[in-house]
């Protein structure tokens, strides 16, 4: 069954040199690009030859580095261990017990796609620091190695699923576009705003040297009412930023989820997706902790739901890939029922107490008071901002109360939450709970209310502002469930 032997130390595919070269150069450029650009613009005329020479030396250095790294990177597999030698000057030997290996991922980034190799990374239980990546292997060899590494585990758990699984779901381009368009653009707007402010600080000197200010001053001198044109300019700026934010979410959704495929196998689901960074992961039912269904008003109307699984013993970076987008209501419910049998049969939606509204109103009032205090120092006209803020806040409070609910039955906990546009539903099996906490502020105590925190190994779910006696009986019930059940959480 195996054409590859891993008994003796072997290197990765020789194409690995290209991958190491590309990846390390990319990381380097990403880190120093801004300095380099400033340097380049300032000095390119004066020291042209020296700059080019410097760049050449830099490239040569990276080639040498990649070669040495390639030569010094060897791995092999013994009876019980995976052993890796690496390091150019500081030699490092890592050995991982096969039994400790949790996951083996095969991925492909852009360079790897071009030269047709894959990277294989090994994830161990416990600490997140030991993550091992072999950057270039041929597809066949990577699969063989994966098989060897996981041979101790139950047979069906690692069986390559590409052929025997049946395609459950495939995202269409139309759905992908709709998902991108209906994202919460405000979030990426804020992100881009901060990014630009950061960039501006970095480039301040450079921009000033371009004399933009004098040019703009000249431009504005044409109009009669300077303030009006400044206002238009600001609106235009916001509009452009919003447009960039829109494009940003669209492209991000598109790149991350391109060609998203969900294959149903005998052991779970296999998710593969990505345009430049192809990822392929197996979702194991017994490792699923929380499952969150996310949508928003627009998406709900378009029939788009996002399913987000969290898996135990998977690092943060990998965690976000366990997401399926563009599902319709029927498919979402079907998938949820696949992992949580009979979950919808006994849902009784219970609401938090009205104190929820009071509490969120109070926090908005505090924010508003602080804002107005700041405004009163700057300009009275800024008080106008209060109007949209109050409208936003009241709608937000009403809808977050409307969307908040919880439901507990013999096996499952469901918690619904949301803000003005977002709608989230969190599903958790009771035997996967790790611990519980009762939280009570002095204000809640006066009204005999409390909140319950339910911790799984990946998320903390809050049931906010319910009657103290209910909170206590929920905790007693959850503890009874965990302590009396023989079921393990993983």
């Amino acid at each position: 069954m195996n054409d590859f032997s891993f008994d003796s130390p072997s290197r990765q595919s020789s194409k690995g040199i290209i991958v190491i070269f590309g990846v390390s150069l990319y990381k380097f450029i990403k880190r120093v690009a801004i300095f380099f650009l400033i340097f380049f613009v300032r000095f390119v005329d004066v020291y042209a030859t020296k700059v080019i020479l410097g760049a050449c030396i830099g490239v040569l250095f990276f080639i040498a580095y990649s070669l040495l790294k390639y030569v010094n990177f060897k791995f092999y597999v013994t009876e019980d261990y995976f052993i890796l030698h690496q390091g150019i000057l500081n030699k490092e030997e890592t050995s991982i017990a096969k039994t400790k290996i949790q996951n083996v991922y095969i991925k492909q980034n852009f360079i790897q796609q071009l030269i047709n190799v894959v990277s294989l990374s090994i994830e161990t239980a416990g600490d997140n620091k030991t993550e091992i990546e072999i950057q270039a292997l041929t597809v066949a060899k990577a699969n063989a190695l994966k098989r060897v590494l996981l041979e101790n585990r139950a047979q069906e758990q690692y069986e390559t699923t590409k052929n025997d699984g049946s395609l459950y779901y495939k995202v269409s381009i139309k759905k992908l576009l709709l998902e991108g368009v209906s994202e919460n653009h405000f979030r990426s707007f804020i992100f881009i705003l901060f990014f630009i402010i950061g960039l501006y600080n970095d480039f301040k000197d450079f921009l000033e040297s371009l004399n933009i200010k004098t040019r703009f001053d000249g431009y504005f001198a044409f109009s009669d009412t300077e303030i009006l044109s400044l206002l238009i300019f600001n609106f235009a700026l916001v509009f452009v930023l919003l447009f960039i934010a829109f494009l940003f979410s669209l492209i991000k959704t598109f790149l991350e989820n391109f060609n998203l495929k969900v294959t149903s196998t005998n052991k779970g689901l296999e998710i593969s997706k990505g345009l430049f960074n192809k990822v392929s992961l197996v979702l194991e039912p017994n490792r699923i902790q929380n499952t969150i269904v996310k949508t928003n008003r627009l998406k709900q109307w378009l029939g788009l739901y996002k399913l987000n699984f969290t898996q135990a013993m998977v690092n943060k970076k990998q965690q976000k890939h366990f997401t399926i987008i563009g599902l319709n209501k029927f498919k979402v419910d079907e998938l949820i029922q696949k992992f949580y049998p009979n979950i919808f049969s006994s849902v009784v939606k219970l609401k938090p107490e009205k104190y929820f509204i009071y509490r969120s109103t109070l926090s908005y009032i505090i924010v508003l008071a602080l804002l107005n205090l700041i405004f009163s120092f700057i300009s009275v006209e800024l008080f106008l901002i209060n109007i949209p803020f109050v409208i936003f806040a009241s709608l937000s409070i009403i809808y977050s109360y409307k969307k908040a609910y919880y439901s507990i039955d013999e096996n499952y906990l469901i918690v619904g939450s949301g803000k003005l546009v977002d709608i989230n539903t969190n599903f958790l099996e009771l035997h996967k709970v790790q611990g519980v906490a009762l939280k009570q502020t002095i204000f809640q105590k006066r009204r005999t209310l409390a909140s319950v925190m339910v911790y799984s190994s990946t998320n903390a779910v809050t049931i906010p502002h319910i009657k103290e006696e209910n909170a206590k009986s929920i905790i007693d019930f959850l503890l009874f469930k965990i302590e009396s059940s023989k079921k393990d959480w993983m």
């Binding site: 135990a312 709970v433 790790q434 611990g435 519980v436 906490a437 009762l438 939280k439 009570q440 502020t441 002095i442 105590k445 925190m453 911790y455 799984s456 190994s457 990946t458 998320n459 903390a460 206590k472 009986s473 905790i475 007693d476 019930f477 503890l479 009874f480 965990i482 302590e483 959480w489 993983m490």
Partner: protein
């Protein structure tokens, strides 16, 4: 034989009925010591600024900052002092609970069968006062770990031995 009796929710053991034990009184001096160190550090940063900075206005501002700092320090000491009696712990047959906090009281309960590992910590000062901190970790990265500060050394060691025993039996 498989049984599936109905459970009377009212008859479940209640966390509410447990008798909690307070942590050692002497632990308060450690809290106080840590607070003094923290505020002392901030104050000394300000003082260094005052000595070396030529900025107009900072000299006057300095005293205001110190006043605010002393005020905050006093408030925190009072909150910790009043809230000290809320720091309590309890063990049952199958779980361990710890409760703390004056303004927000939180009572966290971890079932024994979800504990991953246990740790005893003793700082320089707590060694002098014969105290220990017992840390209990579940698998959650999301919080839900317990850290019981200000236990008598022997109690912490006993609890540690007891819990370690339970974990080992489980494996």
């Amino acid at each position: 034989m498989f049984t599936n009796h109905q459970i009377q929710i009212q008859s479940l053991p209640k966390v509410d009925d447990i008798n909690f034990t307070n942590v050692e009184k002497s632990y308060f001096s450690i809290i106080l010591f840590n607070l003094i160190i923290t505020y002392g550090l901030i104050a000394s940063v300000f003082t260094v600024f005052k000595v070396f900075s030529n900025r107009e206005g900072f000299q006057e501002l300095y005293w205001w900052l110190i006043v605010v700092l002393v005020f905050l320090f006093l408030i925190q000491v009072i909150v910790y002092k009043v809230g000290f009696s809320k720091r309590k712990y309890a063990m049952r047959e199958k779980d361990i609970s710890y409760s703390e906090g004056l303004i927000t009281t939180s009572t966290t309960t971890l079932p024994f069968n979800r504990i991953q590992h246990i740790e005893i910590q003793r700082s320089f000062l707590s060694r002098k006062l014969n105290l220990s901190t017992l840390k209990i970790y579940s698998a959650g990265e999301s919080g839900g770990d317990l850290s019981i500060k200000g236990l008598p050394k022997e109690t912490a060691e006993n609890m540690n031995a007891f819990l370690t025993n339970i974990i080992n039996e489980r494996l």
